[in-house]
């Protein structure tokens, strides 16, 4: 695996390998010193063209817990605002020789383009309405932990499927792991032709009780202005997941941030069925596993990632202690 651009590029084994690796990293996150030297000396560049709190911060945490150097490059307030093209920005940042670029853009296909312009491993952290593969991986991780496995599970993805990269990546990922996927939502927000991905389509929640997992999508307020919906009130009346609609054995998921009172009622967010916080937690360990897979290389002998950091190991890259480090190639050799 050289890049993580689309969940379609991964087969079931690769998904399971990353998820298993994430489970091993989960232990690290529970330690007092939450850091291992697996990617010491490696540079991870977060290039975000869209506002993002949890994805960006969880990638940053993931990289730091693996002792990689992290540089955050947000499009706002940078050369991008001065009119620099994506290609020129990537060529410029590529000159810093990052080992990985984590890229979030509002444009479908941008991650793949960037992978052609730059030798770094590209991690797609969301490309327009196309894909968000690490979200799918962390959702798989969360569900496997909760259910033991998702083979044969019925998963309903409810809401604004048309504008959701999460929906697209999850439809593909869940099906690869043997789940049956149904998308449900208002007809204006279910893209024509989505059934070609293999999922079923419903416009009401009548059959929702059959689902083992209910995955609610975020309803963005902008959609009201574009007349996709008459009102949030009407949306909530037909599609809100609330105590009346959510069964006691169903698992509730949401990619966040939640609009309480719109796609989810407050009661279900706080219910035992909800695994929304677990998803956020999974975000860090799954992204650790992805960075580890890409940068440490799956074929190389795996160092024990749970080995504690050496004494005196800097808590954060970029601190004075790092400056005396040997050059990167030697460091890589040490790891191998």
């Amino acid at each position: 695996m050289n890049h993580l651009i689309s969940i379609e590029d991964l087969d079931r084994e690769e998904i399971e390998r990353i998820v298993a690796q994430a489970a091993r990293f989960a232990e690290v996150s529970d330690r007092e010193i939450k850091e291992v030297p697996a990617l010491r000396g490696r540079t991870v560049l977060n290039l975000f063209y869209e506002a993002s709190t949890r994805t960006r911060s969880s990638f940053e945490l993931a990289a730091k817990r693996l002792s990689a150097t992290v540089v955050n490059f947000a499009a706002g307030g940078s050369s991008v605002e001065k009119g620099e093209s994506l290609k020129d920005t990537v060529l410029t940042l590529g000159a810093y020789k990052p080992d990985a670029i984590v890229l979030r853009t509002p444009w479908a296909g941008a991650a793949e383009l960037v992978s052609k312009w730059c030798p770094a491993a590209i991690v797609n952290a969301g490309d327009g309405k196309h894909e968000h593969p690490t979200q799918a991986l962390l959702d798989v991780y969360t569900l496997q932990k909760r259910l033991g496995g998702i083979d044969g599970a019925s998963i309903w993805i409810v809401g604004d499927v048309a504008h959701s990269r999460v929906a697209r990546s999850n439809i593909i990922a869940f099906q690869k792991l043997g789940a049956r996927v149904t998308v449900a939502g208002p007809p204006t927000l279910i893209p024509r032709g989505i059934e070609a991905l293999g999922c079923e389509v419903r416009f009401t929640l009548e059959e929702l009780p059959k689902a083992d997992v209910v995955y609610a999508l975020r309803m963005q307020h902008e959609r009201m202005n574009e007349s996709f919906l008459p009102s949030l009130r009407e949306y909530a009346a037909w599609y809100q997941i609330n105590g009346r609609r959510l069964g006691p054995r169903q698992v509730l998921m949401h990619p966040g941030p939640v609009n309480r009172g719109v796609e989810l009622s407050g009661e279900v967010v706080d219910s035992p069925q909800a695994v929304i916080t677990a998803q956020v937690e999974a975000g860090v360990v799954v992204r650790m596993a992805v960075l580890y897979e890409l940068l440490a290389g799956a074929r190389e002998p795996l160092p024990d990632p749970t080995r504690p950091g050496r004494p005196g190991h800097p808590a954060n890259p970029g601190q004075p202690g790092r400056q005396g480090q040997p050059d990167r190639p030697e460091n890589v050799k040490q790891l191998a």
């Binding site: 444009w107 479908a108 296909g109 383009l113 490309d127 327009g128 196309h130 024509r192 032709g193 989505i194």
Partner: protein, 447 residues
């Protein structure tokens, strides 16, 4: 109004003897080997193979095994002048046309500024008289600035040489506005060409709406965005008895709407592009921005209907919609990229390879449809007959090449067929009696 004319840069009339070419001109009813002499801008003599002797100062060309066709005519190109010369200009665009075997082309007015006034048209025709490699003509805008609000001074534009009117790149949204233009046509003439798209349906779309757009998360443009406007404007044209040309049809429903309208006897004509005849939404899956055009590539059913429409005459002619864009404008994510593909240099070979070789279309029919557009704009049709202006294309139907392997004559390289193996090389193009293109590797036998 004066008769429609094209303009061309300075050219030296060629003295050529094309020896033993397979001459194919469906209109003239020729499909046999002949010697053809070009002199003084005209086809001076057509004789049996080996019958004509080269005379002094005449270049004899061994055309054995090659096909001599009437030069193609493209009713729809974007030469980007004025204002966007970084994409193309009159010289590079017409050079590309000549390399594709075209002996005439019509430029669209969506330039910067928009070609919507007589002085601008005059300056463009003056520039073409200096720079254009092949004869070209200009369409003027229907509405000022393509804004859809006020009609241009259509009569004055016609006097200055506008072949017709179009807001190409955009539809005329208001039926009332279009109706006024159609009425005004009675005064000034000139074919009104329409880019059909309902912007309220196509808004936010980057490709055809269907399974591929759903999978890629790209905004979709539904086929009804085009076909409903075709139906609306065909009815308007029928009501006003206007002469209307529908540009770049792309879907089944539009072909059906046109077939219905033509059956009413309305004065309509249509065109289709090589890319819509050969490619589908599946070609967009890799999000290659060269596959982004407007109207978008649609389904296999749509493609087949277009081929069938071209065959049965519902669609009158082939147009490339040659739409050059600079490399940096296309090297961006798909949604950000401008719409359009270049097409002049690959049109014949792509269609020959994709439709004639597999036996879908007859070569004669393809030649007919690639030369038919001139008449739709009241221009003389290229034909291979004694005493007619020499507009000829010599092709090697066996000649294979990778599209773009030696670069492009066009200033831009955003060709949707780039890198494909094509068959049917253009070796030589004669436009208005002058050699305007000669394939570099094409050897010439001295007289």
């Amino acid at each position: 109004m004066a008769a429609n004319t094209l303009v061309q840069g300075p050219a030296v009339p060629a003295n050529l003897l094309l020896c033993d070419a397979h001459v194919l001109d469906p209109r003239a009813g020729i499909d046999a080997r002949h010697d053809v002499r070009v002199r003084g801008g005209e086809i001076a003599e057509i004789g049996a193979p080996g019958a004509l002797e080269a005379v002094a100062e005449e270049e004899a060309i061994d055309a054995r095994g090659r096909h001599l066709l009437p030069a193609f005519f493209d009713p729809h190109v974007h030469l980007r002048t004025p204002g966007q010369e970084h994409k193309e200009d009159l010289e590079t665009g017409t050079r590309a046309a000549a390399a594709g075997g075209f002996g005439g082309a019509i430029a669209m007015p969506n330039t910067d500024p928009v070609l919507d006034s007589a002085p601008l048209l005059r300056s463009l025709r003056d520039a073409a008289a200096r720079e254009a490699r092949i004869p070209i003509g200009f369409m003027a805008a229907i509405t000022r600035g393509l804004e859809g609000e006020e009609l241009t001074e259509m009569a004055e534009l016609r006097k200055e040489g506008a072949l017709g009117f179009t807001d190409d790149g955009r539809p005329v949204r208001s039926a009332g506005m279009l109706r006024k233009a159609l009425q005004y046509q009675r005064l000034c003439g000139g074919t009104i060409a329409l880019h059909e798209e309902d912007p309220t349906l196509s808004k936010g779309g980057a490709m055809h709406e269907g399974t591929v757009s759903a999978a890629l998360g790209l905004g979709g443009i539904p086929s009804v965005s085009e076909s409903t406007m075709v139906a609306r404007d065909a009815a308007l044209a029928g009501y006003e008895d206007a002469r209307v040309h529908f540009q770049h049809l792309s879907c089944v429903a539009s072909v059906e709407a046109v077939a219905h309208a033509k059956a009413q006897g309305w004065r309509l004509s249509t065109e289709v592009t090589p890319h819509h005849l050969l490619l589908t939404e599946e070609d967009v899956r890799g999000m290659d921005t060269r596959m982004k055009m407007n109207p978008p590539l649609a389904t296999e059913d749509d493609r087949k209907a277009l081929v069938e429409g071209l065959r049965d005459g519902t669609i009158d002619c082939v147009a490339t919609d040659h739409a050059p864009h600079a490399r940096d404008e296309k090297e961006v994510p798909f949604e950000q990229a401008p719409m359009g593909t270049t097409g002049l240099e690959t049109a014949f070979a792509a269609l020959y390879t994709g439709l004639v070789l597999p036996g879908v279309l007859d070569l004669k029919l393809l030649v007919e449809r690639m030369t038919a557009a001139a008449a739709l704009f009241e221009l003389p049709t290229h034909t291979i007959e004694n005493g007619k202006p020499a507009n000829l294309t010599l092709v090697d139907l066996d000649g294979e090449f990778l599209a773009g392997e030696h670069g492009w004559e066009s200033r831009s390289e955003n060709c949707c067929f780039a890198g494909r193996r094509l068959q049917g090389r253009v070796l030589l193009t004669v436009a208005a009696g002058a050699v305007v293109y000669r394939e570099r590797a094409f050897s010439v036998v001295a007289a």
